[in-house]
């Protein structure tokens, strides 16, 4: 599988030379393969948001390189600007960055900056607005009259409308109600499936990660401490717990049942898988 984004030993320090110096990234090397859903997890303050801002050249590494399609994205001002359209980044709480008078205009901000023709912009705006589950009647509303969850979707649509090859979402479900969380999660999976593009998602919910991710990157204290499939990462429960992280709750339950002598295989990470195994177990009796 081809690698789209690759970071080579990047380090980054906030406030260098001040008493508030913080090493937010320390020698981080990761590969992001194309057409995968990649989850980035880690304790708060571990450097996740800092890392993803390097992937579209918002931050420049103090040392090391970030490669997109094997080209250094910080080579020139132009490459650092153009990468923003190839790697779309949606920040934490993106609803606080809406500014236009209508939803349409706000979603169109990115495509307009790409200097696309007018018809294309309109097509993309309508398409991405529908995609995030907002009807056409929203297009002429003011973004400030919407609910929190709707605003969030408008903001995500604004990134999707640029049709980036890699979509990065920083905690897209933070602060939403359970239904809103579920919808955003479905949206991400749909997006990845329909477009075949890469999605990187930062999340604190191990359940969500287990359900949708194909690869997990674990960050701890400015370093990448694990990287692998859902199985590879969640089978190292003790290490995760030592990093103030966790494994999905169903995995706990299944592990505990197995310890008590029930015939349950290891590696149950999602609710659906647990239901299937437990029903089989129940019928077997």
């Amino acid at each position: 599988m081809s690698v789209v984004i690759k970071t080579e030993n990047i380090s980054y320090i906030y406030g260098e030379g001040t008493p508030f110096e913080i090493r937010a990234l320390d020698d981080v090397s990761v590969n992001i393969e194309s057409s995968k859903i990649v989850a980035l997890i880690g304790h708060t303050g571990s450097g996740k948001s800092t890392l993803i801002q390097h992937l579209n050249a918002l931050l420049k590494p103090d040392s090391g390189r970030v490669l997109f399609d094997n080209k250094d994205i910080n080579e020139s001002k132009k490459t650092a600007y153009d990468i923003k359209f190839k790697v779309g980044l949606c920040f934490q709480y993106p609803e606080y960055q809406l500014f236009e008078s209508t939803v349409f205009e706000d979603i169109a901000f990115g495509p307009k900056n790409m200097k696309l023709p007018k018809e294309e912009i309109e097509k993309r705006v309508i398409r991405s607005c529908r995609f995030v589950g907002l009807g056409d009647q929203f297009l002429n509303k003011s973004p400030f009259d919407l609910s929190g969850g709707e605003k969030r979707r408008v903001a995500i649509a604004g990134i999707i409308a640029m049709e980036p090859e890699v979509l990065i979402l920083d905690e897209p479900t933070a602060g939403l109600d359970p239904q809103g969380k579920e919808q955003i999660k479905r949206l991400i999976v749909d997006y990845a499936k329909k477009t075949g593009r890469t999605v990187i998602i930062v999340s604190h919910s191990m359940e969500d990660v287990a359900e949708i991710a194909e690869k997990i990157i674990v960050m701890n204290k400015a370093k990448v401490s694990m990287c692998g499939t859902v199985d590879e990462v969640f089978s190292r429960a003790d290490e995760l717990i030592a990093m103030s992280l966790n494994i999905p709750q169903v995995t706990y339950i299944c592990n505990e049942l197995r310890n008590q002598g029930y015939d349950i295989p290891a590696g149950i990470y999602t609710f659906d898988a647990a239901v299937a195994v437990l029903t089989k177990l129940g019928k077997g009796k």
């Binding site: 030379g17 008493p19 901000f109 990115g110 900056n113």
Partner: protein, 271 residues
């Protein structure tokens, strides 16, 4: 980056200066500012420079950081010095060509100006480097409290100042965040014509204002929930007391004042 601005920031290093009573710090800084402009010869100036460097050393704030703060005003210093150099025609002529005359008076005034501005900035920024904004406004409130008698709302003004100071870093962080978010959507802030650049500010300032209003309402509610009702009858958690450190600081300042006055009397003034 916008976060690199250090003037007006607070650096908690726990030094002697940090432990001084903020009220005495304000009064002493005012004394030094007057002193900087009162000295009229190089002996006095030397004394002041020595003391300023001593304060910087005592504050334990790194030299690198403090001089980075000075860097931003280098242009102003050079400009005023040059102005003095060319327009002052007192003293002996050192150099003369075309219409420009450079005199000893001009050179001395230029040097004085440059050194004075540097000391001025250093001393006053040391005040903010070593005093947290809340303590600073608290001290101002107390120093100004006699004005209450003539119905100046000192407490309200101090509270407004505290809140304003408190939110400067928050706003800077917020601007930084919004700028990143809009840059991620391809906003370019440093290219294009003047009108384009002015237009590029809209995506930053609209969310900034909206979020600020939201925050102001939140803060007002939070203050009300904690029964804030202005200054009347409010007691303090931290009562300011003068200590031996303040005595030392006042002694040093008195010596400096006497020194500068004596130098002014016994030596010829050069400007």
């Amino acid at each position: 980056m916008i976060r690199d601005i250090t003037i007006g920031q607070y650096f908690p290093t726990g030094s002697f200066l940090h432990k001084l009573d903020p009220r005495s710090k304000i009064i002493l800084v005012l004394c030094y500012l007057v002193l900087i402009f009162a000295c009229r010869n190089f002996f006095g100036l030397g004394l002041i420079v020595t003391l300023t460097l001593l304060f910087v050393a005592v504050s334990k704030v790194s030299f690198k950081l403090i001089f980075k703060g000075l860097k931003s005003i280098v242009l102003i210093i050079i400009f005023t010095s040059l102005l003095q150099l060319f327009y002052n025609d007192k003293g002996d002529i050192l150099l003369e060509f075309w219409k420009i005359k450079i005199t000893t008076g001009g050179v001395f005034t230029a040097i004085f100006m440059a050194v004075r501005i540097c000391c001025l900035i250093l001393v006053s920024s040391l005040l903010t480097y070593t005093t947290s904004p809340t303590l600073l406004t608290d001290a101002i409130e107390r120093l100004l409290s006699p004005l209450n008698k003539i119905h100046v709302p000192v407490h309200t003004l101090a509270m407004m100042m505290t809140i304003a100071l408190r939110f400067i870093p928050t706003l800077i962080e917020e601007i930084d965040h919004i700028m990143s978010a809009q840059k991620a959507r391809g906003a370019s802030l440093d290219t294009g014509s003047l009108t384009e650049r002015a237009k590029a500010l809209i995506p930053i300032f609209v969310p900034l204002f909206i979020n600020s209003f939201r925050r102001a309402f939140d803060l007002a509610f939070a203050m009300e929930c904690r029964c804030y009702h202005g200054g009347a009858g409010r007691t303090r958690l931290r009562v300011m007391k003068l200590g031996y450190r303040d005595a030392i600081a006042f002694a040093v300042t008195t010596i400096a004042i006497v020194g500068v006055i004596l130098f002014n009397i016994f030596f010829k003034s050069v400007i």
